[in-house]
């Protein structure tokens, strides 16, 4: 699906001022700018990241400043995206909301990726009974639709941000385990492992030194796609009133409250929805682009 647009500058093209010439040269020679999805995705993700990191600087108002006389105002010069039912500036809440979404997404995917990859690598490397048992256990997690699993975990741990991160993290364990296991199986089939054992390397050294590097590209692609899914899940949980609790500016809960005012103040629901869409689309494009870059074989088909 990556349109192989020639976004790559030729070396005669203008180097953006301020960018060191070596970096520019590297970008030109690399394939990265060739792939529209990677570049556009990276740009979109960069916007979200900037919002999250620089929220204190770029947001015009505090996300908690209520002004009951100015509630449900349509977009204007004072409030670019309008104001919500408490008179809070929607644009500022969206910008701060990026922090919540990214925080939950990164931490939960981090949990899922570390635990899942570890399990997958071990299962793929040792094979046999261990592999069978681990995969059966993961099948149990696999047979829960994501939202439901998250709901069950949240019911157990209570509706707050931390349990949302754990819940979403648990959802990703089987996914990463499968990816890591598949990559591990490829390496094991080849002779690297036998050779390494013959030299006397320990299992741990082999897994970390031979198997893991092979598994990194698909794990990396899966990570970006998982982050996009985690953003949706976090929004879904806050939408249901679990997850980030009001008055925290979570996009999902903003969308939920905005729903009630849609008939006469649709911007309260549209803005957070667009924010979620932007972030998710950005990470999906990034993941797609990464996958195309890292797996030349797929490039021809996709």
């Amino acid at each position: 699906m990556s349109a192989e647009t020639t976004l790559a500058p030729s070396s005669e093209a203008e180097r953006p001022p301020g960018l060191p010439s070596r970096v520019w040269q590297a970008l030109v020679e690399s394939d990265m700018l060739h792939h529209g999805s990677f570049v556009v995705g990276a740009a979109m993700v960069a916007v979200v990241l900037l919002c999250a990191l620089l929220a204190d600087v770029i947001a015009p108002y505090s996300p908690f400043d209520t002004a009951s006389l100015a509630n449900l105002q349509p977009p204007s010069t004072a409030h670019w995206l309008g104001s919500d039912e408490f008179g809070r500036d929607i644009l500022s809440r969206i910008i701060y909301g990026a922090r919540i979404s990214l925080q939950v997404a990164v931490i939960s995917v981090g949990i899922g990726m570390t635990l899942g990859s570890a399990i997958g690598l071990i299962a793929g490397y040792y094979g046999g009974l261990l592999d069978g048992v681990l995969m059966r256990l993961l099948d149990v997690l696999w047979s829960f639709p994501a939202i439901l699993l998250a709901l069950v975990v949240m019911a157990s741990l209570g509706p707050n941000l931390n349990s949302a991160m754990i819940a979403i993290g648990i959802i990703f364990i089987p996914i990463f385990a499968r990816v890591a296991r598949a990559a591990a199986l490829v390496v094991v089939k080849n002779q690297y492992v036998e050779a390494a054992r013959a030299i006397g390397l320990s299992d741990a050294a082999i897994i970390l030194g031979e198997v893991l590097p092979n598994a990194l590209p698909p794990i990396l692609v899966q990570t970006t796609l998982a982050i996009s899914y985690a953003i949706i899940l976090e929004a879904a949980l806050s939408f249901l009133g679990l997850g980030a609790q009001p008055p925290a500016p979570s996009w999902g809960s903003m969308l939920n409250f905005g729903r009630g005012y849609m008939a006469f103040a649709p911007w309260t629901a549209l803005a957070p929805g667009l924010a979620i869409f932007w972030a998710v689309l950005g990470f999906n494009l990034l993941g797609d682009g990464l996958r195309d870059l890292l797996d030349p074989r797929l490039r021809r088909v996709l």
């Binding site: 699906m1 439901l148 939408f239 649709p266």
Partner: protein, 313 residues
């Protein structure tokens, strides 16, 4: 083939058993006492004791688990803490609702996704392909609950064409039922359709590259026959897998759509149980959903093995 099915059916049992353990432990091994969580910490001791005794919470964990498990195998899912309703009755009422929503959604998804995917593959590297792919990526990046909200905004509030929520059983008034289910099914279906479209497209592209397609072309097979007779059947095989995954995802994920459109399905029951801390309800709904997902996976595996004899392991 029969052996394949039998083996797969047997494999279901440990998985479902694992699910029952997981959900029971999640609900009952929590920090805090069930009685005080349900009734509120302010309740007096007597009330808590009565509650505990009434629902057998004063017995050991494994006894309660076994009792629940054996009960389920006999069709008894227990009663709700909140209103004493028989959970099995409630599930039987709500299951067809969510099932209908899921079926409608996957129908829409296939109607939209498969033709789009085929066209995109046949028009590879043209503007049509790029356009379809972009739309599909946008589609799957859209959260279904936002799409639902948007659809309500446009079709219910602005254009006033369709209702914004509610449910009429299919048996009562099919036309009204479909009218009410259209927007919810679209919310789920268009997102699933995007996923199916991408899978169809990449699978079709893969098939079109194969040597047997070149042979067929060389033999002089006309264009449409090339696609329908030779390419399509093989290309659709991986799509079946994705379809199964989307059906499971929609059945479980319908909870959000059911919230938005006020549809009394399994999802909203689960959510109710969770917010009210009504643990028997949560246990029952989760088991139902898990059983459904596991059976759908089985059906997908069987369909795949039927279509592709190489997979009958």
């Amino acid at each position: 083939m029969a052996r394949f099915i039998a083996k797969r059916l047997l494999a279901l049992i440990p998985v479902l058993w694992g699910v029952s353990l997981l959900v029971f432990l999640a609900m009952n091994y929590i920090p805090g006492d069930i009685a005080s969580i349900f009734l509120g910490i302010q309740s007096n001791q007597e009330l808590l004791e009565t509650f505990r005794h009434r629902f057998g919470l004063d017995r050991p964990l494994y006894v309660r688990y076994l009792e629940w498990l054996v009960g389920m195998l006999h069709g008894d899912f227990g009663r709700s803490f909140a209103n004493g309703v028989d959970i099995r009755e409630e599930l039987l009422k709500r299951f067809p609702v969510t099932l209908e929503l899921t079926v409608l959604a996957i129908l829409i998804a296939n109607l939209v996704g498969i033709p789009a995917g085929i066209i995109a593959a046949l028009r590879h590297r043209t503007r049509v392909d790029t356009a379809v792919s972009v739309v599909a990526l946008g589609g799957l990046s859209t959260p279904a609950f936002w799409l639902g909200t948007l659809l309500v905004l446009i079709f219910a509030l602005q254009l006033e064409l369709l209702p914004s929520g509610g449910y009429t059983p299919l048996t009562e008034d099919p036309l009204d039922n479909l009218r009410l289910m259209l927007l919810p099914a679209l919310s789920l279906g268009l997102v699933s359709g995007s996923v199916i479209m991408r899978m169809t497209r990449s699978s079709m592209l893969e098939v079109l590259r194969q040597d047997y397609m070149t042979t067929a072309r060389a033999k002089g097979t006309p264009g449409w026959a090339l696609v329908s007779r030779h390419a399509l059947k093989n290309a659709l095989i991986p799509v079946v897998t994705v379809m199964g995954l989307e059906i499971s995802a929609n059945f479980g994920g319908a909870v959000l759509i059911e919230q938005i459109f006020l549809i009394p399905g399994v999802g909203s029951l689960a959510l109710q149980g969770i917010t009210q801390r009504d643990y028997p309800v949560v246990q029952g709904t989760v088991m139902l959903v898990a059983a459904f997902v596991v059976l759908v996976n089985l059906a997908t595996d069987i369909a795949y093995a039927y279509l592709d004899p190489r997979r009958r392991v």
